[in-house]
């Protein structure tokens, strides 16, 4: 069983949802980012998304745009991102790591070679924002061959006709982007999230995680009542940017998620 499947099976036994946390690799520098990454599981992150810095993050709001700029200025790259995962894996064999980002750096690396190198580094899944099912064939077969899950994004614009097309490539879990928008901006209403998760569940048995616009422990707890995971990105990245303590936020979010169904 993959790390992702193992983790969701364990969470099912615990009758709770996952807290999925996001940071950008190398933001604000390699050392800070690495120690934050390594400390995430102890602070309560069940799954970690690691952003691959890119110059043109078209689906991201200001917080993650600036994180990518800081990371690139500090020498961040796809190579450094994989090195960070390998270093994390030396300390943690269980927590799934999902890389999230845009396609061009992977295309530049070479999709087949990247899939092999990412698996070797200890990557469990990949979210590529600008690789819809219409273009995913050039990457997904290599990921499958390397045992890496392709985590698909479904959105408020994914209707019942579109969902099967998107879900055809899915493995690991399904990421529901809860707003039509960029990261770190608006938040969806709880009833909209409830309905969307119910609809996705009619089309797949995979776990469903919800992200975009989840900022507070209360919001995370709300989402954790209906979904299999709550993803928090921009809020954590913003605390880091403001010189605060991102791990404190992760602990509070974890408490929210863990208490949600009690």
């Amino acid at each position: 069983m993959t790390r992702i499947a193992t983790r969701f099976a364990a969470l099912k036994d615990e009758k709770r949802a996952a807290l999925v946390t996001f940071i950008t690799a190398c933001d604000p520098d390699r050392a800070t980012s690495q120690s934050l990454l390594n400390a995430m599981p102890a602070a309560g992150a069940d799954i970690i998304e690691l952003g691959m810095p890119f110059t043109d993050p078209m689906a991201d709001g200001p917080a993650i745009q600036l994180a990518a700029q800081r990371a690139l200025a500090a020498g961040g790259s796809l190579k450094v991102t994989l090195e960070m995962v390998a270093e994390f894996r030396a300390t943690d064999a269980m927590t799934p790591i999902i890389l999230m980002g845009y396609y061009n750096p992977i295309y530049a690396w070479g999709p087949e070679k990247f899939a092999a190198d990412a698996a070797k580094a200890g990557v469990d899944g990949l979210i590529i924002v600008d690789l819809p099912p219409e273009e995913a064939d050039e990457l997904v077969p290599f990921l499958r061959a390397s045992g890496i899950d392709f985590i698909v994004l479904t959105t408020p614009t994914s209707d019942d006709a579109r969902l099967p097309v998107v879900l055809a490539n899915a493995s690991g879990f399904v990421y529901y982007v809860s707003i039509a928008g960029v990261t770190g901006t608006g938040s969806a209403t709880q009833s909209a999230i409830d309905q969307a998760v119910a609809r996705i569940r009619r089309h797949t048995d995979l776990p469903v995680c919800v992200g975009f616009g989840i900022k507070s422990p209360d919001q995370a707890a709300q989402v954790a009542r209906v979904a299999d995971g709550a993803v928090v990105g921009s809020a954590i990245v913003q605390v880091l940017a403001d010189g605060g303590k991102p791990l404190d936020l992760v602990r509070a979010l974890a408490a929210g998620v863990r208490g949600a169904r009690q």
Binding site: T55, A59, Y107, P132, E135, T155, D159, G181
Partner: protein
């Protein structure tokens, strides 16, 4: 590379020109992209759509514009007969309006009331603001802060036309960054908004659709040259940023093997320095919805382009150009800032026509090759836009000597 039966059949049904093109966009946008594609397909098959497009081109844009034989440039070069395709005489002063007319009709057909667009030099922004005024639609233009500064007259024109101009400060604050912010807006307003892309780039169907709307340029040239000289032109020269004026001129001639076709990229300060020549200095990558040649580093991070001309200051190029480059049907060359500025002055002084800095790149290349060509060689240079907007940039480039006191 094998010779193809036709160079005009692309893209395939998935929007690919060879390996180029495609639809590399966020999932939120995909349903809408598919809707745009279906709507465009239906519009293309609807004679009423075509009739309204043609009517507006004639009565509103002022087409056909002249294919003007340029006697003094021809005499100066001492070789090929040089003809200028006068897109600068269109309403709003550039070729951009052709595409905007087509797409605003499509947006109306799709029931969209809010239009967004990116702009570099401001020509596409002005053209978009113009058609939005004409059709009574809300208009938001994303423009890099750097470009706002160097194209101030166009910014004010957009505002007068009722558009909201949103300055973009990320990255180098030029065209690439404006496109990023336009895409972010579109993702956030997907239900209400139509993205009126200004060049032959972006996700399918935009590259093909914009090409189709711009092909009126080449279609007219073919008819006009036939009338004036009784035959096909021997060569076509056009500047390329994203490449819409070039594609509009080139596409109708791609299968005429006798016609030499040349696209001119912006070499900025020089190809070994900061430039915007994606085909000459880049390699294939994925950005802004399509696979195409991009200026990028080894890690796949997109480089900042540089050109004195805001309209060419983009690290990518339309995917069909990438394909025409690899199939070798079209020759792609480049011209520096300095060469473009010299050509700007030459055309202004000799023909009494102030060309856009973008178009000046095409003229500069014509100046390089025309002298060695025979006197019966018919060369068409696309004068894609007028240069009023560039006067202060030129004054700055010339050190304020020739146009003292203007800046």
């Amino acid at each position: 590379m094998q010779s193809l039966n036709t160079y005009r059949a692309g893209p395939d049904e998935r929007g690919h020109f060879g390996i180029f093109g495609g639809r590399y966009v966020a999932e939120t946008l995909m349903p809408l992209i598919l809707e745009v594609e279906a709507a465009y397909k239906a519009a293309k098959a609807d004679p009423a759509f075509e009739a309204e497009f043609r009517s507006l081109l004639e009565h509103y844009v002022g087409r056909p514009n002249p294919l003007y034989f340029a006697p003094r440039l021809t005499a100066e070069f001492g070789g090929a007969k040089v003809f200028l395709k006068r897109e600068d005489l269109n309403h709003t002063g550039a070729h951009k309006i052709n595409n905007c007319i087509g797409q605003i009709l499509l947006a109306r057909r799709m029931g969209k009331q809010r239009i967004i667009a990116e702009t570099g030099a401001g020509q596409h922004g002005v053209a978009t603001a113009t058609v939005c005024a004409l059709f009574g639609m809300q208009c938001v233009i994303y423009m890099g802060a750097t470009d706002i500064e160097r194209q101030m007259p166009n910014v004010y024109r957009m505002k007068l036309l009722g558009a909201e101009v949103r300055p973009v400060t990320s990255g180098a604050a030029t065209l690439k960054d404006a496109m990023n912010d336009a895409l972010r807006d579109w993702v956030s307003n997907v239900e209400t908004t139509y993205y009126l892309i200004g060049t032959v780039a972006g996700p399918h169907p935009y590259p093909a659709m914009v090409r189709d709307f711009q092909s009126v340029i080449g279609d007219e040239v073919r008819a006009q040259m036939h009338k004036q000289e009784g035959r096909l032109p021997d060569s076509l020269v056009a500047c390329i940023g994203g490449g819409s004026n070039a594609m509009g001129l080139f596409h109708p001639f791609l299968d005429d093997a006798s016609v030499r076709i040349i696209g001119v990229e912006a070499a900025g300060h020089g190809l070994d320095k900061a430039h915007a020549a994606s085909l000459t200095g880049g390699r294939p990558g994925v950005l802004h919805g399509n696979r195409t040649y991009l200026l990028q580093d080894a890690d796949g991070q997109i480089a900042e382009a540089h050109s004195i001309s805001a309209g060419l200051d983009y690290p990518g190029i339309g995917p069909e150009h990438s394909w025409l480059h690899e199939t070798k049907r079209v020759e792609y060359v480049s011209v520096t800032d300095d060469e473009a500025v010299a050509a700007f002055q030459l055309c202004t002084r000799l023909e009494g026509i102030i060309p856009a800095l973008e178009s000046s790149h095409a003229i500069a290349h014509a100046a390089k090759i025309a002298p060695a060509l025979p006197k019966d060689h018919l060369m068409v240079v696309n004068l894609s836009g007028r240069g009023d907007k560039d006067v202060s940039t030129i004054a700055k480039a010339l050190g304020d000597v020739h146009l003292g006191g203007l800046v």
